[in-house]
């Protein structure tokens, strides 16, 4: 007989999933369905599971996630646009026993911060970079980013990105995988339960790597900007599967184990 009341099920001992305490109680400022929230949560779950929340310092970017420090219940510092890897370099070198990570959008990491990204990766700083690639400048109104796909519409490419006049989209993750300073480079997504679980494993591996002091771990998360793309969240996730993944394929790009 399975006549069991909701009260019997909803008991503390039966909880199999609840929001991590490492997210603050604030309502996140992201649009409904935006992947930033999921990305925040898996990072915080990893820190909680590793028990390193009081040893971790995060660097927030400029972009929609500029307020990440309001939502992540750990020590954080906010960097000037694109400068998160430079700030993380300083924080880690001054505090080598802390875990240090940056959290950056594609406009932040792949446009204004390209130099900081590439040189931190090339130097092999012992930090984690989390790169949220939604192919657009979400915060400022959906302008074209270096990562915008060919033919993709944005507020500054209303007829779609034309390669001839606007240049090629850039694959930062493949690029930094070429550099000797990176130890782990991977591309993930957070639109389905299976992808979230995989992405979380990748984030965990990145933080575990930091203990080994062998270089920089770089985790790209391809994500939707449903507001900028002008779609509903579920449509945007489908569009991402159909259009973003062929150009930005998911999976590990570099795994250095020794």
């Amino acid at each position: 007989m399975d006549t069991i009341s909701k009260e019997d099920i909803r008991k503390p001992e039966n909880i199999v999933y609840k929001r991590t305490e490492l997210l603050t109680d604030k309502v996140m400022s992201y649009c409904p369905g935006c992947g930033h929230g999921t990305a925040h949560r898996i990072i915080m779950e990893v820190l909680e599971e590793m028990g390193i929340q009081d040893k971790t310092i995060g660097i927030a970017p400029v972009g929609c996630s500029v307020l990440a420090y309001e939502f992540m219940n750990i020590d954080m510092q906010q960097a000037a646009h694109g400068r998160a890897p430079a700030l993380a370099t300083a924080v880690k070198r001054l505090n080598p026993d802390k875990f240090v990570f940056t959290y950056q959008g594609d406009g932040d990491l792949a446009a204004i911060g390209t130099a900081e990204t590439i040189h931190a990766c090339n130097r092999g700083e012992n930090i984690v970079i989390i790169f949220i690639n939604n192919g657009i400048y979400g915060m400022t109104g959906g302008q074209m980013a270096p990562t915008t796909l060919e033919g993709m519409k944005s507020s500054t490419s209303p007829y779609g990105r034309d390669i001839k006049s606007m240049g090629n989209p850039i694959k930062m993750t493949e690029l930094v995988a070429q550099l000797p300073g990176t130890i782990y480079v991977t591309r993930q997504a957070v639109h389905t339960p299976a992808n979230v679980r995989k992405a979380k494993k990748a984030v965990r591996k990145a933080f575990e790597n930091q203990k080994l002091n062998k270089g920089l771990s770089f985790v790209e998360i391809v994500s939707n900007c449903n507001s900028g793309w002008k779609m509903t969240p579920n449509q945007a996730n489908q569009w991402m599967v159909d259009n973003m993944f062929p150009f930005y394929p998911l999976g590990d790009i570099k795994v250095n184990e020794d």
Binding site: K6, V16, T38, T232, N234
Partner: protein
């Protein structure tokens, strides 16, 4: 035969009605409410008793507003 029964609790004031949780549910447990919360979002709610406590919905919820329970019943 051991069976599991699940249930979810949605923090409807924090739900943004994005509906990302809906296709993640294997048993179509979640539907959109006709009512709106304080922020004006049509939040989501459970619409049947088929929850197995798999946590798929909670794992994809961008705002982390779902708590999942699961109980074994003989």
């Amino acid at each position: 035969m051991a069976k599991v029964k699940g249930d979810i609790v949605i923090d409807i004031e924090k739900c943004k009605g994005c509906q990302v949780c809906m296709p993640a549910c294997p048993n179509d447990v979640i539907g959109v409410s006709k009512n709106v919360n304080g922020k004006g979002y049509n939040y989501v709610e459970t619409v049947n008793e088929e929850c197995i406590g798999c946590a798929n919905c909670a794992v994809v919820c961008p705002d982390g507003v779902i708590t999942v329970y699961r109980k074994r019943i003989e």
